[in-house]
Symmetry: C2
Subunit: 357 residues, 2 copies
């Protein structure tokens, strides 16, 4: 069947745009409107329409490290290395489960992992997904940053290039973005842009959006589709769920926690409202079709919803997936959880509709 996704989505999106899409950080009303006082509450673990394996992630207590306030790249890296040591030993079994092969390579001077599924269906041949991992711009160095890429290769049956971008203390803003865009340029030497997608979660979701903004700045063609997963699209702490889901999200926990400290380290004095750090403030007209994924307990629910709205208001085909009860990025914590396969299958299906057209 000939995919007609772009056509049908584009009709809806172009007809819409009743509200202006804002291109800079808004100012709060003056005088301020009265806030709401939310009382203390007991939140049972939700179970309806949620697999027992995902319920176990939702039931975890608040991340005990949520308030780590790293001051330097070296401090963040020490934590990242400790965390990576817990992740890396599980990767061979994960590759085996998902029937994916991993190769360490260098592209345009950037270290990458090329992730190839054992079977690539004919319609996915020649297509390339560029993966930018999450971790608040400081976590998941080296192989530890590949897990989401492996899931996409395995569940989606696409070739994935996972960018091991430079991070503090080696390099600061915009090094991660420079590396990711350098890989895109290199991929373009052999692959038409319409056969390329960008994806990633959290900081990787932000980088996905930032790559599109930077590609346009650099005069590069747009990729065929993007999947910004629960993107750190606004690191100025603006967005309602920074408040409503504070101490409800058991992963990030607070807008003032480790992830904000890490982002400040990466930004290295740069304005946090710059669209290359807070891409919700970028001009999204002409962006490629996008699928966004988040959860109802996600601290970045608003960051995700706002990007979805802004894309639609900018005439871009964009769809939103929200998982019941999930906190930040939990849809990609474990490939053995049914909702993980579901999320990646949805993203891969979306790429299948849009890539190549």
């Amino acid at each position: 069947m000939k995919p007609k996704g772009l056509a049908c989505f584009a009709v809806a999106a172009l007809a819409l745009a009743p509200m202006a899409a804002f291109a800079q950080a808004p100012t709060p009303p003056n005088p301020p409107l009265a806030p709401l006082q939310e009382p203390a509450k007991t939140l049972p673990v939700p179970y309806a329409d949620i697999s027992p394996a995902m319920q176990a992630f939702i039931a975890k207590p608040l991340n005990p490290d949520w308030n780590d306030q790293w001051k330097t790249g070296a401090e963040a890296r020490a934590y990242a290395n400790k965390q990576a040591a817990g992740v890396v030993p599980g990767i061979p079994a994960m590759l085996a489960r998902l029937h994916v092969t991993m190769k360490s390579e260098t592209m345009a001077g950037v270290h990458v992992y090329v992730l190839t599924p054992d079977s690539i269906p004919p319609e996915n041949k020649g297509k390339v997904l560029i993966h930018v991992h999450g971790g608040c711009y400081v976590l998941f160095p080296g192989e530890s940053g590949t897990t989401e890429g492996i899931m996409m290769a395995g569940f989606g049956h696409y070739k994935v290039i996972s960018v091991d971008y430079r991070m503090p203390p080696e390099a600061y803003f915009p090094a991660a973005l420079d590396d990711a865009v350098a890989v895109y340029k290199d991929v373009l030497k052999t692959t038409p842009p319409k056969d390329v997608a960008f994806f990633g979660t959290s900081a990787g979701g932000a980088l996905t959006l930032e790559m599109v903004l930077r590609a346009r700045q650099d005069g590069l063609p747009m990729p065929g589709a993007i999947a910004p997963g629960t993107p750190m699209s606004d690191v100025t702490k603006t967005g309602d769920s920074f408040y409503t889901n504070e101490k409800v999200d058991n992963v990030l926990v607070s807008r003032d926690g480790f992830c904000q400290a890490a982002t400040v380290i990466y930004a290295h004095g740069h304005d946090l409202a710059d669209p290359l750090l807070s891409p919700v403030y970028g001009d999204m007209h002409g962006f490629p079709p996008a699928i966004l994924t988040t959860g109802t307990r996600d601290l970045l629910l608003s960051n995700t919803v706002r990007v979805h709205r802004k894309l639609l208001r900018s005439g871009v085909p964009a769809i939103l997936e929200v998982f019941e009860g999930e906190s930040h990025a939990q849809y990609q914590f474990d490939d053995r959880v049914p909702e993980t396969k579901e999320a990646f299958t949805e993203i891969a299906d979306f790429f299948g509709q849009y890539l190549g057209h």
Copy 2:
């Protein structure tokens, strides 16, 4: 341009379905998992990417009537009449603003309002949208229930039939559904099913889903599309946002408030987990394409998300729109708010993609 929406969505949806779609109320884990203790918090009024007019709705204090515990249909009706008296005087101006004409009629013995926009584009001619209003199955009698229908007629440029279904104390479950399906049957005498859509918000969102379940039971053909807005899809108080958004949603406020009391009156002793009262437990395979709308502060965010997930898991093309900061049903409170036009334009565009095919 030839709409190809059904084809492209169906490809994605059919390829997906990695999780079983549950068809009955689930049981909680035993022993129960430990709940999360959420502390008291101050929630500022969100402003980014939100119009000042919508900010004013978000800034309202908790609905002062949220804990009204009506015990009888007569008590609920007394409140409904008082509320309607505040709504009805504004309707002529609203009809004028939106260039819509309203006529009171009877179809198959059911009282309806036929809402006709001054201009219907050629592609919408002959198409009929059946509107079922919200109000917890007891509120918005008569003309007061037409506002959402007027918005859809005005913003969407479709003919709308708004069903003034019987409510307590005149009639109880399943009278509302009987009336709505009777109108559908009558419409089918002159209109092909693929040219008909159902839509509504809250109880109207639930009725939209219940109409599809009942139509199938009765051997009627499926309509071309549906738009269940923040549906009361689970009145067993199951769903995470019943807890996370308690006393955050300033409209419904609590799962134990007036809306639950009203639903119990309407159910009249019937099992609340029956899919004709809690349609999230219905079998959704073969449902028509659906667009769902909610807000991040909506008490029924989870009720909406769970229906979206279940539709996708059942192979149904379904998309989800979530508005930043909005509480229950606020996207249809006032036609002069930019986000209202945006929401109805999205629904109308969706109908435009799917109706007639």
